[in-house]
């Protein structure tokens, strides 16, 4: 008997892997993202979140406004990597910040990082 839950889960995981690869390709190709200024203050966080909320929500726009990078950014003596970010789901390798909601890798980073 086919386990539909398992089938559904693996389809989802394939889709997420493909999307993760697509993000990596875009960043490797030199997509110019807003790595700075980092979201150091509450006001800055709100500003970036508002821009994300009012954007068209496309993948590229999320990556640019979020300031995505393929490696951790060291800021204020703290290494900011998805791996340690509050919004990172370790097992799913997923960013659950509602305005991003994207597959990520542990060593990636974005300027909305928070712990």
């Amino acid at each position: 008997m086919v386990d539909e839950t398992t089938t559904g889960a693996s389809a989802r995981s394939e889709y997420e892997d493909a999307l993760r690869r697509e993000i990596e390709t875009k960043l490797r190709a030199g997509l110019d993202t807003e790595v700075e200024p980092r979201a150091d203050t509450h006001e800055r966080v709100q500003e970036i979140i508002t821009r994300l909320r009012t954007s068209d929500g496309s993948l590229e726009v999320k990556l640019v406004i979020g300031g995505f990078t393929l490696e951790p950014i060291e800021h204020g003596g703290i290494e900011q990597a998805c791996e340690t970010c509050m919004y990172y789901l370790v097992h799913r390798k997923w960013c659950e910040l509602p305005e991003l909601d994207l597959p990520v890798e542990p060593q990636w980073s974005c300027r909305l990082w928070r712990i």
């Binding site: 980092r38 979201a39 150091d40 203050t41 509450h42 966080v45 709100q46 800021h75 204020g76 703290i78 900011q80 791996e83 340690t84 509050m86 919004y87 990172y88 789901l89 370790v90 097992h91 799913r92 659950e96 509602p98 990082w113 928070r114 712990i115």
Partner: protein, 320 residues
Amino acid sequence: MANLLWLQGGACSGNTMSFLNAEEPSAVDLVTDFGINVLWHPSLGMELGDNLQKLLRACVSGEIALDIFAFEGTVVNAPDGTGDWNRFAGRPMKEWVRELANVAQFVVALGDCATWGGIPATAPNPTDSQGLQFLKRERGGFLGPDFTAKSGLPVINIPGCPAHPDWITQILVAVATGNAGEITLDEFQRPKTFFTSFTQTGCTRNMHFAYKVSAPEFGQRKGCLFYDLGCRGPMTHSPCNRILWNRQSSKTRAGMPCLGCTEPEFPFFDLEPGTVFKTQTVMGVPKDLPAGVDQAGYIKLTGAAKAAAPAWAEEDIFVV
């Protein structure tokens, strides 16, 4: 028999409502089982006008022994120190407070307003309000730092906005039954029995706190409210998750962050839109960390907890 007098200054009556909801023991139990004689209370007192003034004067003169003076609300000093914005029984309330506190065996401050000024005393404090023996964190308040009641104890502070019903009645019973000696107070004169542990103690979200799983929305059963919604449970002293509200719940159990209302700085925020119910961060790290944890320790702990988090911590185990 212990005589209890309860007055109300700059207040919303929240602590009165709380008191009337008490269950263990109830307000009625105080009278029937624990020998407390309620001389007067804003919602229960029978005397009005001249009769009330007579009663209060009899307490001040010693004609009626005042065992417990309970005060709810701030001491209002405005305008210009006269206290005229809060007149009661023919004179500024603050004058009654001073005279009654001086003759009472025990003085009990109920709720944040009476303890440290609460919301009314938040800047710009237009009513020039004070708590009985504190103004926010600063010792002194209306009665001054050296005040002690006739029993030798300073004001017993039972903070909260409002205080939990049973914190109120249990302390009143302890005092009325001669067990005040067993009440030890912390640096803010709060009974240690209630205010040594944290709101987080007993919180059903502790496992999500441990594995750093956040609840980004109100009312969710999964996730900890500290990371996004500004919950102050890890740094607020209260037994809200040990002595439950209505005997069955608490803010955090209902998916609502703790506001830290038993601490002198409450309400903490400048009330600008977007600052309330939002964890404030500096460079991605929460501004207010759990009590006793420093930034470096917090970062290490979080990294390790994330790495060790089991898969179930990411799922909503409550909907299965």
